[in-house]
Symmetry: C2
Subunit: 410 residues, 2 copies
Amino acid sequence: MTVSETCLLCKEHAAAIAYASEAQQNQMLGLAAEALCGNAGFLIRENAADVDACTRGEQFRDRLLLNEARIAGIAEGLRQLVHLPCPVGEIIGRHTAENGLSIEQVRVPFGVVGIIYEARPNVTADAIGLCIKSGNAVVLRGSGDAYRSNAAIVRVIKDALRAGGFDPEFIQLIEDRSHESAREFMRQKGVLDVLIPRGGANLIRTTLENAAVPVIETGTGNCHIYVEKTADAGMAKKILINAKTQRTSVCNACESLVIDRAALPMLNELASALTERGVVLVGDEEAQRACPSVLPAKEEDYFTEYLSLKLSVRTVEGVEEAIAWINAHSTRHSEAIVTSDARAAERFLREVDSACVYVNASTRFTDGFEFGFGAEMGISTQKLHARGPMGLRELTTYKYLIRGNGQIRR
Amino acid sequence: MTVSETCLLCKEHAAAIAYASEAQQNQMLGLAAEALCGNAGFLIRENAADVDACTRGEQFRDRLLLNEARIAGIAEGLRQLVHLPCPVGEIIGRHTAENGLSIEQVRVPFGVVGIIYEARPNVTADAIGLCIKSGNAVVLRGSGDAYRSNAAIVRVIKDALRAGGFDPEFIQLIEDRSHESAREFMRQKGVLDVLIPRGGANLIRTTLENAAVPVIETGTGNCHIYVEKTADAGMAKKILINAKTQRTSVCNACESLVIDRAALPMLNELASALTERGVVLVGDEEAQRACPSVLPAKEEDYFTEYLSLKLSVRTVEGVEEAIAWINAHSTRHSEAIVTSDARAAERFLREVDSACVYVNASTRFTDGFEFGFGAEMGISTQKLHARGPMGLRELTTYKYLIRGNGQIRR
């Protein structure tokens, strides 16, 4: 099938999930979870073909890999969705106009959600689960490197839904693995209601530049921690170590330390705690002078999401300069201030233009589960529709239902 | 200034409005309204130059024209915004996590809003007013045909703000009137937080195809009225006449009548009421047979937003076929059913995939003022962010403010 045929087929079957009851959604999630576990052997064999064919680095192959434990984890994720409330049908607002018209604003599914993503096959099942529980049909376009794994997951889930008496065609995987097909996918205006790219900076940039359908920009996080001059050194160290090293490959990890000139005496202690954990620091001349382990930074370092054990350091004079620096270099994801000064904290909260702004806490908390959503489709770094972690509610829109008895406009 | 310089200048001054108090916003609106009235002579002279240079049709020139009454109307619109509550600062959600982190979701302005629009100079002042009251900086890109009028309005408002002690540079008008500049405007990623096109179908399509920033699609309305077989003929006639003829040039006007085969006997009466008011009807063969005044329709008629005294007619067999027809041909703006059957009504409400779905009322009510928003930036026909009429709240986003005391992720 062509990309366009696949998307149209999905749209034609969108009603199968849009009008499913919550009990039916939950039944589908249970069937999908059970089928993934029951077909782990098949999934692992298909995945092995992808892994064997993969000529990219070890880290990439690791992200691609499926094994019994990972499949069990994916299935568990689907089962957890059963316990979350379906957002569809919520009455957001309701009023009766003077002329007697009843105007109701009701939450509804988007309709058809497109997901374009990279080599992690778990995204395939996650996205299907989130779309089932939010009433959305879904068209998936994964990486060519993971095609057999993705196709196997989709087949297992669709077979299970069909066997359970459901129409599974609201789930579609793009078969064409060419670059042209990705571009075609981004231009399915009138068919895809929203397109969500999940992956690295390149994928997201390409999607924004080429899409002719509404896009939710996700993921890249050049996150900053600002150590203000009144910061508690111990707290700064604890937060910085957590945000930089607890997990380096994630978008909410810290990539840049912004430090007050007056706080530079703390830098040696912060830096040695980081270098002990393998972190390489690059910074400006003042930071280098204050701390010999800081290497020279290039301009581009301050725009880089390393996703590895590297950290840029920038010296500033006070909260105003820190905010200006962060707003000029961040990706509007997550930034934190460490401070004992309540006024500095409130100014930072107000003026930093990012989805999640922290006082005295690690940026690693930017996450749908940590925020209590119970699930996550990604983290939006744009301001339209959703900002920060996106859960089930962020996968819906609304419509107005207006009931009258013959009203006309004067 | 180049487009990019203008947009950057606007962004640099965004704080001047983002952190203005509501009292300051209201003061600015009052100053702007007063200045427009006080400088009506200047505005009319500058506008006359645009109107004189305009070589397009009478309807176009009428939309372009400013006179004392229209200027007073524009000023009155600004004054009305004073009485609307500013949406910024609203706490949308708040909870404390088990680890003690306080997570607050707070409504904030977008930042920099781009507006690209056609020849109506009133949009210039409307957009400035809405952005002031929602805390947004605004970059305006009007039509070349209205350049002197727009520049005069912007100058009068900015001079008044400056004289009142405010920094007015959060308001910017693109000076470059070339087509390339429009395209460049649509690609100001990292500067424009959202771009809203206001105008005809061509402008909106071009914007969607070229933009690299988030867009809110607005306006085009191929709106349907479905006369179901149990419809009260008198009510159907009243609603149809209102929706088609009360004002033909607006997006919420009806463009297509969908009628049940069993309701065809009513068609003569409906058609003669419409033809009396100058409406030309085109329809399928069944409609032509049922009513001699119905001319043959072409396939493209059913996709056309006429914005004039013309109406397409399509015969269907029951509510399911009507819904499928409407979903395949509408622009997802506003559709109505006229019926006495509650089940047909509820099915129509549920399954018609449009921003506003009506039972027994005119589609003409899709409007920010009619919906009680007190203002309107346009009507969204996409599903991302806002759907249907957009008021002040729809010109905002949110951010998460997270306050801790040293929390790190485990």
